[in-house]
């Protein structure tokens, strides 16, 4: 009888052993159900005060990755309006040439700090969406200097240095900034007359851990580390700027929190594409009930002759 017990147990053990050694037993794959995604409205409009007259917004919809049938639509009959302190500032029109909604102003976009800007979008098939932004104050640039081969990069190579002194415009609160550098080249003819002016953006890098790169607003940073104080932004570039014909324009952007979050997360998202070891990135959206952003930024310029 005890032997029977052992035989039974050994048989059971053998059956289980063989049953667990079939094809794919050690790599079990199960396709999982993902809840359906109902498309949501998408609106994207980023505005820089004083820098532009023309506003251009993208209007579309989200779709499920899993549904090959779903598509992006760009409706031609959406109603997109921008309000300044409650008063209509811009009524956008659809342009089929650029697949965007556009508004052409007569003046540069207003830079008055504290003004409330509200974007409202009524897109057929979706509930209306609206986003508000408050124009941040103008950043304060106290000084900016350029020195050829003035510093070293993170690898120890000599590079041109651009130092920008900024001052916290709103002490006591967290402010967000971006820093871009532009080179303005003036071409003259033999008579000394200006024949061409070109303006190109120069990429900046920094060894300062406070500054991180984001595409549109260059090096972005917050003033948490220097609230109520001045701060010296030490940056460098690999472009040779030692050109007597050129002028450098330093632009400091004061960003809203949404602008900062979107700029930074979009850059992280782009850097993480195709990197299986990257932490997932959630790109910031401030459109309640949809995706995309509406952001406004204020700017100040400083010219280095």
């Amino acid at each position: 009888m005890p032997k029977l017990k052992y035989i039974f147990l050994l048989s059971a053990f053998a059956i289980l052993t063989f049953s667990s050694c079939g094809d794919g037993s050690f790599s079990q794959v199960v396709t999982i159900e993902i809840p359906d995604h109902d498309p949501l409205p998408v609106v994207l409009l980023q505005v820089e005060a004083e820098q532009e007259r023309q506003l251009s917004a993208l209007v579309s919809n989200s779709k499920s990755i899993l549904d090959p049938e779903s598509t992006y639509e760009i409706p031609e009959d959406a109603d997109l309006k921008l309000y300044r302190n409650g008063t209509l500032y811009a009524d956008f029109d659809y342009s089929n040439d650029v697949l965007r909604y556009e508004y052409f102003g007569t003046e540069p976009f207003p830079a008055t700090p504290g003004e409330t800007w509200r974007l409202e979008a009524a897109i057929p098939g979706f509930n209306p969406v609206a986003v508000e932004q408050v124009m941040p104050s103008k950043p304060i640039i106290e000084n900016a200097t350029y020195e050829a081969e003035g510093t070293i990069d993170s690898e120890g190579f000599r590079v041109d240095e651009i130092i920008v002194d900024v001052k916290d415009a709103n002490p006591g609160e967290t402010n967000y900034y971006g820093l871009t550098l532009w080179q303005i080249l003036v071409s003259t003819n033999a008579e000394g007359d200006t024949v061409q002016v070109s303006r190109g953006r120069i990429n900046l890098d920094s060894n300062d851990p406070l500054l991180s790169y984001s595409g549109r607003y260059g090096l972005v940073f917050t003033d948490e580390g220097f609230s109520n104080e001045e701060y010296q932004l030490r940056t460098y570039t690999y472009f040779s700027l030692d050109n007597e014909e050129s002028t450098l324009e330093v632009i400091v952007h004061q960003l809203t929190e949404d602008t900062w979050l979107y700029a930074r997360s979009l850059e992280q998202y782009n850097n993480a594409i195709d990197n299986p070891f990257a932490e997932p990135v959630t790109v910031h959206s401030n459109l309640e009930g949809g995706f995309g952003v509406f952001t406004v930024t204020n700017t100040s310029s400083f010219f280095i002759e």
Partner: protein, 788 residues
């Protein structure tokens, strides 16, 4: 004000009674092995006063000069009684004999101090014999996986042995082996733990309500003490399993005076596969593969006299993966190995009958080496060689002194201090290049070590006021790193109020500070994960936790406890969104991490049967666990990956007879929260060529971080033991079954694509799908265990 003075007087009075009193002190030991008995009871029947032995088996009981009727008890052992007239201080070193006839059925009931007697809450001691009974993956007994079956403790994922305690991450657990921090607790990428159960004496996990003597981590303290070695006679035990074998020997070097213990474990997959690989390799080539892990524990104990004992313990263990290929033209080799070296020199000194000191000097090191090299064989000249070696790790040297002062039965005072010097090696790369003739290069990159010093002081008193027992204390710590000097004062309080029906109401409050951090991905624990210090930029992690609970022992057999807790964590560390957690950390890790806050709260229920033929427990945890980082998820709060709403574990051991025992463990847990990009939306649109379809730049998103839940996890493990016992020898066959009903538990999720077909079966499109991958199907195991 006068009332306050009266209260103060009442508290201090017990220290100042100078009536004729004497102290009985000494050690309680297992009579057969000489092992110290921890938390055993000493009780005087005449006065009703009692004491409990400390971690080193020491007790001290101060009583009025009178007749005493002492009983020394420890469940599973025969009670020892002594009566005498107490007229002077007495030293009693008592040995208790185990109940031989109960050994197989009451192995789980070692403790005698009831749960309602303890001031400490949120603390669980799992007897090693119980751990050995729990069904284990591939028959490898695993201390950490056993702890995952307790309420409030979660596993990270299938087969992983990381501990997620009350919402904390694994780096927030202080894992101490004989008082020395262990930085890497895993073998084989987290599948097995480094602790060899045969060499372990006891395992205690504290999840909250931390007494002041603990510090340095936010979420838990796991104390693992090695056996000390048999003082009386030689013994051994071992096992032969499917993937590893182990052997432990212990015995006296000088009987009753000096003992040793040595225990080793090694896997042998490489030994099995080496001949197979060799047989299938062409004769002009050679392939040498090594893949194994090993552990070696050793301990020496020397009893100088009744007042002084010295212990020297060491552990070393590593995972090794090597690969060498060679043919007539050259050779290539590569490998990775990582492991710990831990050592402690401990000195127990009974300074007086009421004062006991434990002094420990420690050294520990965790290191990972990744190497690669190649050689080109030249017939006409010297060989060309290239090699690269990456080394990273952390090294600690430290010392601490702990005092136990027991002025009378109503007070138990502990105080002490410690210091640790940490050396961090965030990653050094050594290149060697030689053409065998006139050119050679030997260079070291990124070799800058960083250093920090950590200090602590603590004092606590466990005292009683009627039915109220209080443990109050303070832990002060400091951390010097670079030019920063951080300090932290951490108050601790534990309360226990005993109701008339022997139900204990308990409460605990503790604050903790953690100065060192592990850079690790939430999703995966790798040996390359770096330990780094707090710096000027990276602030120390801090937490506070409050817990309330009730506990009761029912009919001497059952233990029931319920606890609710709330924990807040500040400055917890995480990789920034988009940061790569595998490469390039050594240079600029500070720019890749961000700090934020976390909170966790929940309810834990624990019902345990400790005695009889059937033993085991049911544990249930209901919990919430969130994180909030300014730089993650747009600053919005999100569920932590291991936010597990429900977590259930049921463990049952049943002895049909002394010869056959069955064990089962069933676990259930809500699926992990992960980020899954299931939605896309455009960020740019461009007109198509020649009026064709427009094309878009787009973003994939899951909406919110960790918004998706993997499938729920559940699994049943079974094992059956067949035992045979002879007077001087016993053996056990253990047949186990992991994941007995073959549930495909998700390990990770991948995005894949599959074809879309029309009604005729033609592929017309492709669609994205998400697939859960499970790695551990039903896995049988068998092992042979022996003891002599």
């Amino acid at each position: 004000m006068q009332k306050h003075y009266s209260s103060l007087l009442a508290l201090l009075l017990p220290f100042s009674i100078w009536a004729q009193q004497f102290t009985i002190s000494g050690y309680l030991e297992d009579g057969s092995t000489g092992e110290k008995l921890i938390a055993a009871n000493v009780f005087d029947a005449r006065s009703g006063a009692g004491a409990v032995t400390n971690t080193y088996g020491f007790f001290s009981l101060t009583l009025p000069a009178d007749s005493v009727e002492l009983s020394f008890s420890y469940i599973g052992y025969q009670t020892h009684s002594e009566s005498f007239l107490l007229t002077e201080n007495r030293t009693l070193n008592v040995t208790l004999s185990p109940y031989v006839e109960l050994a197989t059925v009451e192995v789980t009931a070692e403790r005698s101090e009831r749960i309602e007697q303890q001031t400490q809450m949120s603390r669980v001691e799992v007897p090693v014999e119980q751990i050995k009974r729990i069904p284990a993956l591939l028959g490898e007994v695993d201390v950490l996986k056993a702890l995952q079956l307790l309420p409030g403790v979660q596993s990270g994922g299938e087969g992983q042995n990381g501990l997620y305690v009350r919402g904390g991450s694994p780096d927030q657990n202080l894992v101490l082996l004989d008082g020395v921090p262990v930085y890497n607790v895993s073998h084989l990428l987290g599948i097995f733990s480094v602790f060899n159960a045969d060499a372990i004496k006891n395992v205690t996990l504290t999840k909250g309500g931390f007494p002041a003597r603990y510090g340095g981590r936010l979420s838990s303290v796991l104390e693992i003490n090695m056996k000390e070695g048999n003082m009386q006679e030689w013994h051994g035990e071992g096992s032969i399993g499917l993937i590893s074998s182990k052997l432990t020997l212990q015995g006296p070097i000088q009987k009753g005076k000096t003992s040793f213990l040595i225990s080793g474990r090694r896997t042998y997959a490489d030994l099995i596969f080496k001949p197979i690989i060799k047989a299938s390799t062409p004769p002009e080539e050679s392939i040498d593969v090594g893949l194994y892990f090993y552990d070696l524990n050793a301990k020496l104990q020397h009893k100088v006299n009744d007042q002084h004992r010295i212990f020297l313990s060491a552990y070393t263990g590593a995972d090794v993966f090597t690969n060498r290929y060679e043919d007539e033209f050259g050779a290539f080799e590569g490998g990775i190995d990582w492991g710990n070296l831990i050592s402690a020199l401990r000195w127990n000194w009974q300074i007086s009958p009421k004062l006991f000191a434990n002094t420990t000097l420690t050294y520990s090191k965790y290191e990972i080496d990744i190497g690669a090299g190649s050689e080109n064989f030249n017939e006409d000249g010297p060989d060309e060689k290239f090699s690269a070696l990456y080394v990273s790790g952390i090294e600690d040297v430290g010392g601490k002194i702990d005092f136990d002062f027991i002025p009378n039965p109503k007070h138990y005072v502990r105080f002490g201090a410690g210091w640790t010097n940490h050396t961090y090696r965030p990653g050094a790369l050594n290149f060697e290049l030689s053409d065998g003739e006139d050119f050679s290069l030997d260079t070291l990159l990124g070799s800058q070590n960083s250093y920090s010093n950590e200090f602590f002081l603590y004092a606590e008193d466990d005292f009683s006021i009627g039915p109220l027992k209080i443990n109050a204390g303070i832990h002060a710590s400091a951390f010097a790193v670079e030019d920063e000097f951080y300090t932290s004062l951490q108050p601790r309080l534990g309360l226990r109020y005993l109701l008339n029906n022997d139900i204990a109401l308990k409460a605990g409050f503790s604050t903790m500070t953690q100065f060192i951090n592990l850079l690790t991905s939430e999703a995966l624990t790798l040996p390359t994960d770096l330990w780094v210090p707090s710096t000027a930029q990276i602030k120390p992690q801090e937490s506070w936790q409050v817990a309330l609970g009730a506990a009761k022992t029912i009919a001497d057999e059952y233990e029931l406890s319920a606890e609710v807790y709330y924990k807040e964590m500040d400055n917890v560390i995480s990789f920034k969104e988009g940061a790569s957690f595998l490469f390039g950390l050594e240079n600029d890790w500070q720019s890749k991490v961000t700090q934020g806050d976390g909170d966790s709260y929940g309810l834990e229920l624990f019902f345990q049967k400790k005695r009889g033929r059937t033993t085991g427990w049911i544990g249930y945890t209901l919990s919430w666990n969130n994180r909030e980082f300014a730089e993650i998820n747009s600053g919005r709060r999100f569920p932590f990956r291991y936010d597990r709403r429900h977590d259930i574990s049921i463990v049952v051991n049943h002895d049909f007879s002394e010869k056959i025992g069955l064990s089962a463990a069933w676990v259930y847990g809500t699926g992990n929260a992960i980020t899954l990009n299931t939605i896309t939306y455009p960020t740019a649109a461009y007109p198509g060529f020649n009026g064709g379809q427009p094309f878009f730049g787009e973003i994939e998103t899951g909406g919110e971080k960790n918004a998706f839940r993997m499938s729920n996890y559940h699994r049943l493990d079974l094992s059956i033991e067949f035992r045979k016992k002879k007077p001087k020898w016993e053996r056990k066959w253990v047949v186990g079954l992991y994941n007995a009903y073959y549930h495909r538990n998700p390990y990770y999720v991948i995005a894949d694509s599959e074809p879309v077909r029309d009604s005729q079966g033609n592929i017309v499109d492709e669609r994205r799908v998400f697939k859960e991958i499970s790695i551990l199907p039903i896995i049988p195991s068998v092992s042979y265990q022996f003891k002599f």
